[in-house]
Symmetry: C2
Subunit: 229 residues, 2 copies
DNA sequence: CCAAAAGTGTTCACGGTACACCCATGC
DNA sequence: GCATGGGTGTACCGTGAACACTTTTGG
């Protein structure tokens, strides 16, 4: 390896695709840029990586600073390095995606005065930089991942009904599922704890609430469980 | 986004995990370092990303320079950014993995005088930096990917026997497969072209040769084919 | 003729899918 | 009592898994 000091360096950023689900829609959290380039355009939350923090720390810090969100499921997505993705100079960005429970994270004003807002993925504005591409990549990853890993629960409240869970899968996968088969399948996994509670304040028969049993899940994974919806 | 000029920058490298399959073993191409740190240790081929090349271009260039390999299947793996992964300074590395046909790529002396050699993944030396971790990540990815995408063919010669293909899967997945079921399944996919040729110079009945029909595969993928072994 | 690997079908168990009605509750 | 969603079971089909013998060829 040659000395790294001899050459100009690319800048390094992180960007986060934050997903949430909200009555019938899969949503993404965007912030409105207040600086050039792409001033006033909507963009993914993100920013420069400090030299003394890990990539994941940088992603979490930017999320906190720009959107007020702090406890989330976060996973690295892909690193984007096209030559002209930032018009100012060479910038490589490591993209992450995050899953949040919208019930816990009402939209907060960003701490640094940029506006933050949730957009349905089916109705997005044109984004800054190559953020359209990053978002599309994240969506594809979420759709693939949700089939074989129980990440969907990160998007629901702790206590949820089976119908809510089914709706979640239908929203993400973009096709309807059969109610009886869905229930049979998820209950057969033995990963849901049936609670002694039902939903409140509904104008019809109240549905039973369930909780995802993460402890059991981790144990079963070690024994070679293959989660699949 | 704040100006990127105000802060010290991390260095950016690419590293490549190059897989090949050779009579019964899954192998990885390593180079021996001739500089500190980790002088004389084996390491993944890789190096600094130039400011005017994409990440993929950098990976391909380093592969060519350090190992002489040029036409390969290449895919981004993961970006590693621990604080102390390089003892000299902060270095982020974007890892790629590559699949090569060993028949086409006999081990070549590296052009810059470092030694390059193939190692069975079951018998690896201790590697420089966090390259053990990168390699383990690549291996897990290959094992997952080979089940649901036809990447295995990148590791075989253009013309191969069904037994060679089965051996390949057994080597990567690390468990034996049933011969009749395996043949039934891969032939049912209709992605193999039966050639009018048989293998040569074997001391027993010669097996028929097949070729992977990439054209048909691409067409079927568009129609929603789900390849799976 | 012997050694070595090629090639080939059937049975069984299980999981996926399709499908419709009664029940509980709030208003 | 009516509207709304909650909750439940069965029959069929296709795929995955287990399993052993005959054929071809070279030496």
């Amino acid at each position: 390896m040659a000395s790294s000091y001899e050459h100009p360096r690319a800048a390094l950023t992180v960007d986060c695709v934050v997903f949430g689900v909200d009555d019938g829609d899969l949503k993404v959290l965007l912030i409105q840029r207040d600086l050039e380039p792409f001033r006033n355009r909507w963009a993914l939350p993100g920013g420069f990586v400090h030299v003394d923090e890990t990539l994941e720390q940088a992603a979490l810090r930017e999320l906190r600073e720009e959107t007020g969100i702090s406890r989330v499921y976060l996973e690295q997505l892909y690193t984007f390095g096209s030559l002209a993705r930032d018009p100012r100079e060479r910038v490589i960005t490591v993209a992450y995606y995050a899953l949040v429970k919208l019930t816990d994270h009402a939209v907060q004003a960003a701490t640094d005065a940029r506006e933050a807002a949730w957009f349905a993925v089916t109705d997005l504005p044109k984004l800054a930089f190559d953020h359209d591409e990053i978002l599309a990549t994240a969506l594809a990853r979420l759709q693939a991942k949700v089939r074989y890993e129980p990440v969907g629960f990160e998007l629901l409240p702790q206590k949820f009904t089976l119908t809510q869970l089914q709706r979640l899968y239908e929203i993400i996968l973009e096709h309807p599922l059969d109610k009886r088969n869905f229930r049979k399948k998820v209950l057969a996994l033995d990963l849901l704890l049936e609670l002694d509670e039902v939903e409140q304040d509904v104008a019809h028969r109240a549905a039973r609430l369930y909780r995802f049993d993460e402890r059991t899940y981790r144990a079963l994974v070690k024994q070679g469980l293959h989660f699949e919806i």
